[in-house]
Structure formats: C-alpha cells, structure tokens
C-alpha cells in the first residue's frame, strides 16, 4: 500500500524567508509524486510533479522539490516566500495499486506567511 506523510501540519514563516515543506512517502511500486496548493475555498492547483528523470523539479511560483529515492522523500522548497503563498499544501503519490491510479494525499501543511 502507498502512503504519504507530511511531517509538519503548520509552518509559520516571515515574508522573504526561505521555506521547506517536508513530505515522505512509502510505496512498493514506481511512483509519480506531486505537490498541490489549495487556497481558501478553492480546488487544488498543481505546483509541480516528478515522473522520472532529474530529481530536482521546478514548478510554478518559484517552488521546487527534490526527489530522494533512498530517503523516500519529496520536500518542497522556496527560497523567498511572499504573503500570497499563504495556503494549504498537499503532497501526493500516484502509482498502480488496487485503486487503479488514484492519488494518495498527505494531510496537508498550512503555510502561513506574515510580514
């Protein structure tokens, strides 16, 4: 079975500071990995994805993530955050399993950026 653990439920940070949101996964099969962002009262927007190839993945809004197979991690980073980055962030894993190709999400990390 696949699972995702987001290690921090809340991350408060000041504007222009760097941030890292941590995600560990477990899977017995090859995986695709994703980070989604959810703003209040909205659906999910894809930030970035890892399918194969380079382990450093760049996404929208200046975010990037690094796939580490040996540590089964896919941490999200941004060198300098803005107030507008305040949102809920979800790490997700996808792979072949009994539920087809469903996305399995972590519980989310609330990023709060203050001035």
């Amino acid at each position: 079975a696949q699972s995702v653990t987001q290690l921090d439920s809340q991350v408060p940070v000041f504007e222009e500071a760097p941030v890292e949101l941590r995600c560990n996964y477990s899977s017995s099969v090859s995986v695709y990995l994703f980070w989604y962002v959810q703003y209040p009262n909205q659906g999910l927007q894809l930030l970035l994805k890892y399918l194969s190839g380079s382990t450093l993945v760049k996404g929208i809004n200046g975010f990037e993530a690094e796939f580490n197979k040996s540590q089964t991690s896919f941490h999200l980073r941004k060198p300098s955050v803005h107030i507008s980055d305040t949102a809920e962030y979800f790490c997700a894993v996808s792979g072949y399993n009994q539920a087809g190709t469903a996305l399995i999400f972590g519980k989310g990390t609330t990023l709060s950026v203050s001035s």
Binding site: F34, Q42, G43, A92, A99, T101, A102, L103, G106
Partner: protein, 113 residues
C-alpha cells in the same frame, strides 16, 4: 480552454437524503476521478472512471456510486446521507488513465444537517 467545472457550488441536505454532484472534465480528457476532502484533511480517493468504466474505487461504502457519460462528464451519487458525509467533493480530470496528472475542479461543498 475551460477547466474542470462542478455543480452545484454549495449544497445543504439533511440526514437520510440523497444527493447528486456533477462534473465536466477538461475538453479531451477521458478520465474523471472523485475525491472527498473533510475539513482539515487531505483529499481521499472515491472513484476513477475512464472511458465510461469504473477503473478504481477507494474505501467508501456502497452508498457512494458514480457514473460517466458518453461526453465524459460524470455524476457522483450519495444515498442515505450521514453527518459525516459533510465535506468538499472534488472532481479531477486527466487525459489518460495511466498518466496521472490530474486537474481539479473547484469542488462542491456538501453540508449534511
């Protein structure tokens, strides 16, 4: 191009009632998935449909059912509503069954009283 659309936006029902939620995928996308997001949690997979056939089902009771139409739109039905069914229901579409970059709609907020 229009994104994934869902209707209605909000819905209030009482326990025991039945509800139908609707989703239109991005044009050209043949796969639709449904997720339930309870407040404060990550989305949980309910169903995936591809080419009008059920391709995957999550750990939800038989009160939950879905179908996909020839135009690839989809409906999610929930019978005998419980208070615990209150959640944001998200629909996601993707181009192919096995390439799982999914694009999400804004969701339907269901409140069960």
């Amino acid at each position: 191009d229009a994104g994934v659309t869902q209707s209605p936006t909000h819905l209030i029902k009482t326990r025991g009632q039945q509800v139908t939620l609707r989703c239109s995928p991005i044009s050209g996308h043949k796969s639709v998935s449904w997720y339930q997001q309870v407040l404060g949690q990550g989305p949980q997979f309910i169903f995936q449909y591809y080419e009008k056939e059920e391709r995957g089902r999550g750990n939800f009771p038989d009160r939950f059912s879905a179908r996909q139409f020839p135009n690839y739109s989809s409906e999610l039905n929930v019978n005998a509503l419980l208070l615990g069914d209150s959640a944001l229901y998200l629909c996601a579409s993707s181009l192919l069954r096995d390439y799982n970059e999914q694009f999400f709609g804004p969701g339907t907020r269901l409140t069960v009283l």
